[in-house]
């Protein structure tokens, strides 16, 4: 039981570390948001599942399960809204040759 909880929490921390590295290293808004939404949702879900396993069947476990549910639904939806707003306002995805800057200037509204 304890081993399983620790393994889940370690996996969650791994994914959250990946998310943070992505947030720092990736070049533009879309890829950063991509790193944060997927990897961090998985990371925090695994972390909370580890806590859930160590809490067992109790009121605390129920609360943790609800937190998992809420985070797993609201985090992607928040990123969806952010990305949608960025696309609507004409933000272009990053390109290695810098063309996104040109098309952004061209398509400026």
């Amino acid at each position: 039981m304890n081993i399983v909880a620790l393994a889940l929490m370690a996996a969650g921390l791994f994914f959250m570390a990946i998310a943070v590295i992505g947030l720092v290293r990736l070049p533009d808004f879309f890829s950063r948001v991509h790193a944060v939404s997927k990897s961090e949702t998985l990371g925090i879900t695994l972390l909370l599942l580890g806590l859930l396993v160590s809490a067992g069947v109790s009121l605390t476990g129920l609360k943790l399960a609800l937190i998992v549910l809420f985070v797993a639904i609201s985090n992607p939806v928040g990123v969806h809204v952010l990305t949608r707003a960025a696309v609507r306002n004409g933000l272009m995805p990053w390109r290695r040759d810098g063309l996104h800057l040109a098309s952004e200037a061209q398509g400026e509204r």
Binding site: F70, I73, S74, V77, H80, V81, R84
Partner: protein, 152 residues
């Protein structure tokens, strides 16, 4: 800006999932405040967060027409009145200000099964007043700061 957000996903999640659950959780924090972290102020802030979320995403028809600013002002005033009365009423029963043990709410014990003292009931009444006051005040703050929904 008073239109609802046009994302169907956001609309569905907020209406069917986020707002109802946040309100239920706020009421849980209110009534469970003695046994776990929480209380009137926190519950009011949580429910007000649900109101603000609805106002941000759902637009006038689904969020504001049900709880216009007018109603929020009444809510805040009612909360003030409730906890002021919980303090003043014991004065007329020969007790000190805010002496809950002398509140005339003994009939409460007939409808509730838990064996709690009158003092705990008085504290809950004050908590409920704080809940309403904080809920109304935070909603009013949002409405006045954004000035979106004031014209009705």
């Amino acid at each position: 800006m008073t239109e609802p957000h046009d994302s169907l996903i956001l609309h569905f999640i907020v209406r069917a999932f986020m707002v109802p659950f946040i309100i239920v959780f706020g009421i849980y924090v209110l009534v469970h405040g003695e046994a776990s972290p929480g209380g009137g102020f926190q519950a009011g802030a949580i429910v007000a967060a649900a109101f603000v979320l609805a106002r941000l995403t759902l637009g006038r028809e689904h969020a504001v027409n049900r709880f216009p600013t007018r109603v929020l002002i009444w809510t805040a005033s009612l909360g003030m009145a409730v906890y002021l009365l919980a303090g003043v009423v014991p004065l007329f029963f020969g007790a000190n200000f805010l002496d809950y043990s002398q509140l005339p709410v003994g009939w409460f014990n007939n409808i509730a099964t838990h064996d709690e003292t009158l003092r705990a009931r008085g504290i809950f009444i004050v908590e409920f007043g704080v809940f309403l006051a904080v809920l109304g005040t935070l909603g009013i703050l949002y409405d006045y700061l954004t000035e979106r929904y004031l014209d009705d």
